[in-house]
Amino acid sequence: MRLKRKDILSIEELSKDEIELILSTAESFKEVSERDIKKVPTLRGRTIINLFYEASTRTRTSFEIAAKRMSADAINISTSSSSVVKGETLKDTAKNLEAMNPDCIVLRHPSSGAPEILAKYVKCSVINAGDGSHEHPSQALLDMLTVKERFGKIEGLNITIVGDIAHSRVARSNIYGFTKLGAKVTVVGPPTMMPSGIENIGCSVSNRIEDAISNADVIMMLRIQLERHEVPLFPTIREYSRLFGLDSKKLETAKKDVVILHPGPINRGVEISPEIADGPYSLILDQVKNGVAVRMALFYLLLGGSRE
């Protein structure tokens, strides 16, 4: 089986087989990060540009570490220190970067669809590292890897995603990914943060977190994306936390082997209480660890075959 794509722009466009290929490749890459010498020569001489138009610690570092462990050269551009502040357009930035002959551009951008536009302008591979409230494919892949590792499978599991669904690219990518692999996804959030028609992409909807906890195998908590809210969508943080935040009280009805995921950054005491975030059900740091392996797999599958 081969990945025949130039770009990874969304989970929506990937087939079940492609997702499974990426996950099994990532499983093999985990071993590299556990060695004393955490580096393989596979992609030496390849150049990977991380172009980030939004703040990021985890994702950017993870892509950079993944590139370096594959022996590729990674260059990071954050827009605060680039020509973007002088008014350069995405297209011009892309064309100029392409003139330096990179093999892959990893793009994070506040506008949904920006990676797709970039992919049309450049010949090199493009990986979407999060675009607006559209998709964040590598995050969903690492979430799926974390769940698959814990349960040995994804098919038949109940996945509950709680929070600001409307503004969450993580939620959207995970709904596509988990349903493609045969899980049942329920999204939970206040009506103001629930996009209309979300059930059309294969998930069920609830407005009460209590209803979606007791049969969940996986509970994924999301951060409220205040930076994307144009108008206030809930009265107070405290009220949101009381109704939709996950704490040990709400978790009492959950299954004994439930696991908690969060894509980070977490807001302690808002969507998740500290004792849950640091507790035995939490796989938050496994997610981060798996992120490196998933990104190594994406680089390998995009750059490890010939283009012809």
Binding site: M1, R2, L3, T25, S28, F29, E31, V32, R35, D36, I37, K39, V40, P41, T42, L43, R46, Y300, L301, L303, G304, G305, S306, E308
Partner: protein, 176 residues
């Protein structure tokens, strides 16, 4: 045209002889670590370990070394080569590492495997055991233990089948 080169009995005899040669060359198997190249090399490595145990009464550590990430044709073939398992159960520093594979051909896989092993430590030496040596080396690599030398043409394909993966033990040569 398909020629039978080895049957189950032949494979077992060859591995038994290799086991004796390993013991003789290393004066026992105290510091020996056996690493098979996936997939069939790993099965042969496990069989070799079992034979060594019946002769010497010692369990040599056995693992697998996947050389895929060290190949010299990454990005040249259409398909990305599939990754397989690397599992090195013990430190290989100052150990005598025996690489085991089913067929030795160009030697490029062995070069890649040696580079991979070096990333895990500094073995005292690295030796090579293969069930079949079919010739046509493209690198200066020579096996220490050979089950059978099989002169072949470039048009021929050597196929090793093992119980563990194929349900049957035999080696055949066929025109492609």
């Amino acid at each position: 045209m398909k020629k039978n080169i080895m049957d189950a009995k032949g494979i077992e005899r060859a591995l038994t002889r290799i086991a004796h040669e390993v013991i003789e060359k290393n004066k026992g198997i105290e510091d020996v670590v056996i690493l098979g190249i996936p997939t069939r090399g790993v099965h042969i490595a496990r069989r070799l370990k079992d034979i060594l145990k019946t002769i010497e009464g010692v369990d040599a550590p056995v693992g697998s070394i996947d050389a895929t990430l060290y190949r010299d044709d990454i990005g040249m073939k259409q398909e990305q080569p599939a990754l397989k398992e690397t599992d090195i159960p013990v430190s290989i520093d100052n150990k005598k590492v025996i690489i085991v594979d089913d067929v030795l051909f160009t030697g490029r896989t062995i070069r890649a495997a040696m580079n991979a092993i070096m990333d895990f430590g500094r073995p005292a030496n690295i030796q090579l055991a293969v069930l079949i040596d079919r010739g046509h080396r493209e690198l200066p690599i020579r096996p220490d233990y050979v089950g059978k030398n099989v002169p072949t043409s470039m048009q021929e394909e050597v196929r090793v089948r093992l119980r563990e993966t194929d349900g049957v033990d035999d080696v055949t040569v066929a025109e492609t």
